[in-house]
Amino acid sequence: MKTIQDDFPILSILENGKRLVYLDNAATTQKPLAVLNAVESYYNKDNANPHRGVYELGARATKAHEDSRGIVGDFLNASPDEIIFTQNTTESLNLVAYSYGMEFLKEGDEIVLSVAEHHSNLVPWQRVAKVTGAKLVYLYPDAFGHLTEEELDQKITSKTRLIAVAQVSNVLGIEIPVASIVRRARKAGAVVVLDCAQSVPHMPVDVKALDVDFAAFSGHKLYAPMGIGVLYGKKEILDKMPPFLTGGDMIGNVHEQSSTYAEVPRRFEAGTRNVGGEAGLAAAIGYLNSLGWDNIQAHERDLMTRALKGLAEIPHLTVYGDLSPDKRHGVIAFNVEDVHPHDTASLLDSDGITIRAGHHCAQPLMEYLKINSCVRASFGIYNTPEDVDALINSLKNVRRWMGYGS
């Protein structure tokens, strides 16, 4: 019988002579044949520069570009003209920082972030604060990794003009209370920027139901190629924003001394686009839809339950954040006592198990947790109970390999 694993050619390679156990899905995911074939098919049959050629091939390239936009729009429950293609989440968030933050924030305004933000949703806001004189205010999670109502009440005030938060932390894997945050943002008159990089691979995200103003994600964490990302923005907000990058294809008319700009979303898509990547992203969304969210979520919940149970049975091992499987999405961060995360990762690598070690581009969170770094295992649709067992069995030996008794 054909399995999900059969759809992913890379899963059949050997690592250090062992079966590849790929558990670094929060960093990037592997790509199914449906995606690889879609990219190849675009370049084999439809490639030209979209929006330029008057010939039929150019029209097919334009169609591939705009069809992909429609598929991404449906995926987020947004209209196609609210979907901007970028390189990745980082570029999407920078677009909002430069074209909204730099333009509309001023001295005395407050930008609210969580201390758990990935650097890509933190450093751009530091730049905005520095240039505009706005102030950064941080939300701190409780001991289980949750943002409490009290914390939200305290930090989101009448001065708040923008709230930029990850829907799911790339370290803790815990979903934040988006509805509570949006409700307060509306009262304060603030916009909400939702970093969905770690949420879209694990749950349906409906931007209309969430009522966020912006949402960003990367294709490569959603089984699509690297180099294609998405920014959703509410049409009425995008309409009043100036361009981010300028140049070809984002213009209305260009004269020697001035230019007018194209309508949204093309205003924000300067230069030749990554249409092959867009076709791959559309195919990845189609592939996930064919599996169905109910199946994906049930499967990933089973993996999470098995992993958390196995980790809890290993002595001298600390898991960060809430330990209940239904509170977590895809990610478990932990440390083995007395063993540096990079040593743990290298030892697991020798068993063919790929996990991430380091600060996970979330240094302020590491400081807050009072650790230098940690190990992170993260799951995707093709992981199996055997993958989880391989992780647990290998971890059981780490301290012994490092010269500790148990």
Partner: protein, 153 residues
């Protein structure tokens, strides 16, 4: 190679050894070296006089490879002239980059040959090199380290 072979007795023991973990009184050079991508962070202290490294010590935290490398390096360079230390540095870099593989040439590194396997692990080179890079900068009279940044986490 089997990566576990790298975690040999010499590395595991020296990563926890305490005899070089200290500050140096009247140090002539104190330099912090950091690997931003993994949080390895050591401060190397040296007392250099008459062209010789009279005393050396380090403080800080990091992975077994970075800590063992720092301690073994201090064992090796203490009492050596600055010139000799620089020769050891270039031999060590040669070994880690896989450019020097000849055992006779590597003999001057003594126990540090235990780190030879790192040359097959691109992801861990910066761990092994941190202390040496910091030593090189300290001997060059720098007061601020440039770190061994690979720019990513």
């Amino acid at each position: 190679m089997d990566l576990k072979a790298l975690y040999n007795q010499i590395i595991v023991e020296n990563s926890r050894a305490s005899h070089n973990r200290h500050k140096v009184d009247h140090a002539t050079a104190v330099l912090e070296g950091v690997n931003p991508s993994c949080g390895d962070d050591i401060t190397l202290e040296l007392k250099v006089s008459d062209g010789k490294i009279k005393e050396a010590g380090f403080t800080g935290t990091g992975c077994a490879i970075s800590q063992a490398s720092a301690s073994l390096m201090i064992d090796l360079v203490t009492g050596k002239s600055v010139e000799e230390a620089k020769e050891l540095l270039s031999t060590f870099y040669g070994m880690i980059k896989g450019e020097i593989t000849d055992d006779d040439q590597l003999e001057i590194l003594d126990d540090i040959v235990a780190l030879k396997g790192v040359s097959h692990m691109p992801g861990r080179v910066k761990c092994a090199v941190l202390a040496w890079h910091t030593l090189e900068e300290a001997l060059d009279g720098r007061t601020e380290s440039t770190g061994c940044n690979d720019g990513h986490s």
